[in-house]
């Protein structure tokens, strides 16, 4: 509850301020992120673009609470997460962030509904209504009992999206979500992202695909660990 209040008081789901991530490679110091400032509001969809090694994935790792920054501030739903311990981060990820990967990472021996239910298992929750609701939302009612090998790439990504949403996260992080999909399937997945954003979910998409990138409200281009360019495509109310 406190989290939600914090999120509504400043109106930002995500607030990144002067974020740095520095690595040592031998005697060389590499700044994978060098003073990044970024924010995300509920219902906003942001594309992160840039060449390989520009800092996109490093940013996703930070925002997804998978890695800790070297310095700077990272607030998610109003909570400063940089100081959280591992177990606290596990709980935080479970309740706040949904992940979508390029390779889907569905468990091949679990059915569609079992894959979607998996994050609920980790959260020690039972919410069959939510599983059914998401299966319907991504249009997989007929494939509920199917195994991933019986699905095409688009359907597998739909399962991955439903799985990312099952714990009712505050925002979605998608890493090249259409990287393995055909063009017409990409459009369908984009539509789902728009619907989710329209429902108030924040969506961050890291992509090399210029078409997908331009579906977002805002494009943030990374270069050498910094934001090189920011383009607003749709003004939000």
């Amino acid at each position: 509850m406190a989290d939600n209040q914090a999120a509504t008081t400043n109106g930002k789901l995500l607030d990144v301020t002067d974020l740095w991530r520095t690595y040592r490679r031998g005697s060389e110091t590499i700044h994978a992120l060098a003073g990044v400032n970024l924010s995300l509001r509920p219902g906003e969809m942001v594309s992160i673009v840039g060449r390989s090694g520009s800092g996109k994935t490093t940013l996703l790792n930070q925002v997804g609470c998978l890695d800790k920054p070297s310095r700077g501030s990272l607030k998610i739903s109003g909570i400063e997460v940089t100081g959280l311990k591992e177990q606290e981060l596990v709980r935080f990820r479970r309740n706040h962030i949904g992940f979508i990967f390029q390779l889907f990472y569905l468990i091949p021996t679990l059915t569609v509904e079992e894959n979607i239910r998996l994050p609920l298992v980790f959260a020690r929750k039972k919410d069959e209504q939510r599983v059914t609701e998401l299966i319907e939302r991504v249009g997989l009612e007929k494939a509920r009992k199917a195994l991933p090998r019986q699905l095409d790439g688009g359907d597998m990504q739909r399962v991955a999206i439903a799985r990312a949403l099952v714990n009712r996260p505050k925002f979605l992080l998608a890493d090249e979500p259409t990287g393995r999909l055909e063009k017409n399937t990409c459009a369908a997945i984009c539509r789902i992202f728009h619907e989710l954003a329209a429902d108030g979910l924040g969506v961050i998409i890291a992509t090399h695909d210029p078409v997908l990138a331009r579906e977002a409200d805002r494009i943030v281009e990374f270069s050498d660990g910094r934001i090189a360019r920011e383009e607003i495509l749709k003004e939000r109310q």
């Binding site: 994935t57 790792n61 596990v90 990820r93 992940f99 994050p119």
Partner: protein, 386 residues
């Protein structure tokens, strides 16, 4: 329970590998079960055989006493004899309650079944109070009592005639012995004098079975019999049991060491397989952690998977041991100098539970390191650029 379900689903992803790993554990557990059961069956059957002799002390001619004891237990032909007059000396000992002199012989007709004959008298019956005869005791010098197995095989009933192979001697069946489930079931009993005559061993004995006046004074009785007569071996049956058991124990240590090695190798095999599976699933485990799976969740998942593997191995192993018990028993019998008759490897719930418990313990130990490795995988692995 959910971790076991997820673990099971992971196991069926690579069925060949899982089957081979389970088989490795199953073979080790099957051998363990067979050995345990064999030991217990051996002890209990040996005690039963010795108990069926109805005696506390055995007197045999000079020579290897254990060879003599084996002949006494299973019957056969042993070319060493004692003078029958020793029987009177033994009976005269005040510590002796009952004593029965026995002569034994066997014929081995070519292509036919061997016939083991025991020449006994009424004193022998006193050592066999549980015997039940269908028919009557020897009615003449040419009458015999058939063990039930012999009677079944030859389809003879009391009153029928029986011809001793190779000796051209026809004798009449006076009784068929009720089943005792001991070595007696396979013998042909006849009056001692008759067998001595047929075998040309007049005045000779192979064995004297003695029932002590007081069981707790058996050692004193043995000492006193040894002092009386030097031309025979006197030993209490308890000593025989102890000696044969000690012989078996030395074999057991050797076999146990082999089994222990087999189980350790099985465990290492399981560890290796599960560890490989963890490495292969690094990104998948990373994904699960990114989605809210904790270290302990990943640990439990892999641990449950390992325990399932070894538990399956344990169950299959016990099943394998029970199914192949006859074959295994025959192999072990061929490797040891003496084994009691009857089935030695059977169906024992405590041994099964022990073996299954051990397979679970194996899973706990073998699964610890792979589970630890799985728990240590960082969620960042999942989001690394392909």
């Amino acid at each position: 329970m959910i971790w076991f379900i997820l673990g099971f689903k992971n196991l069926i992803r690579r069925p060949t590998r899982t089957v081979l790993t389970v088989l490795g554990v199953a073979i080790a557990i099957a051998v363990l079960y067979s050995l345990f059961e064999f030991q217990q069956g051996y002890q209990s059957r040996l005690k039963g055989e010795l108990g069926a002799l109805g005696a506390h002390v055995m007197v045999v001619p000079k020579g290897c006493p254990y060879e003599a004891a084996t002949i006494a237990l299973h019957g056969g032909k042993w070319p060493r004899y004692m003078d029958e007059s020793l029987l009177d000396k033994v009976k005269a000992n005040p510590g002796v309650a009952e004593a029965a002199g026995v002569i034994m012989d066997a014929v081995f007709p070519p292509g036919g079944q061997s016939v083991i004959m025991l020449g006994i008298d009424e004193d022998y019956m006193k050592l066999r109070p549980a015997w039940k005869l269908r028919g009557s005791w020897f009615t003449s010098d040419s009458s015999i009592i058939l063990g039930p197995s012999v009677a079944e095989d030859s389809k003879l009933e009391p009153g029928d005639l029986w011809t001793l192979p190779e000796k051209n001697e026809t004798l009449r069946v006076s009784a068929v012995l009720g089943r005792t489930n001991t070595q007696d079931d396979g013998f042909v009993f006849m009056p001692r004098r008759t067998l001595q005559r047929i075998s040309g061993l007049e005045g000779k004995l192979v064995l004297i079975l003695i029932k002590a006046m007081k069981v707790d004074q058996t050692d004193a009785l043995v000492a006193s019999l040894k002092a009386d007569e030097v031309d025979m071996n006197v030993f209490p049956l308890s000593e025989l049991l102890g000696t044969i058991s000690a012989l078996m124990a030395s074999t057991r240590v050797f076999v146990s060491a082999i089994i222990l090695i087999a189980i350790i190798l099985g465990g290492v095999g399981v560890l290796n397989t599960v560890l490989m599976a963890v490495f292969e699933r690094t990104r998948e485990i990373g994904m699960m952690k990114a989605m809210g799976g904790s270290r302990s969740d990943m640990f439990k998942l892999v641990w449950a998977e390992t325990m399932l593997t070894t538990l399956l191995g344990g169950l299959v192993g016990v099943g394998l041991a029970v199914v192949s018990s006859r074959l295994v028993e025959a192999i072990i019998r061929g490797m040891i100098p003496y084994a009691p008759k009857g089935s030695l490897i059977g169906f024992s719930l405590p041994t099964m539970l022990f073996c299954i418990g051990l397979s679970l313990l194996l899973g706990l130990l073998a699964g610890f390191y792979p589970a630890f490795r799985a728990a240590s995988i960082k969620p960042i692995e999942a989001i690394k650029t392909e």
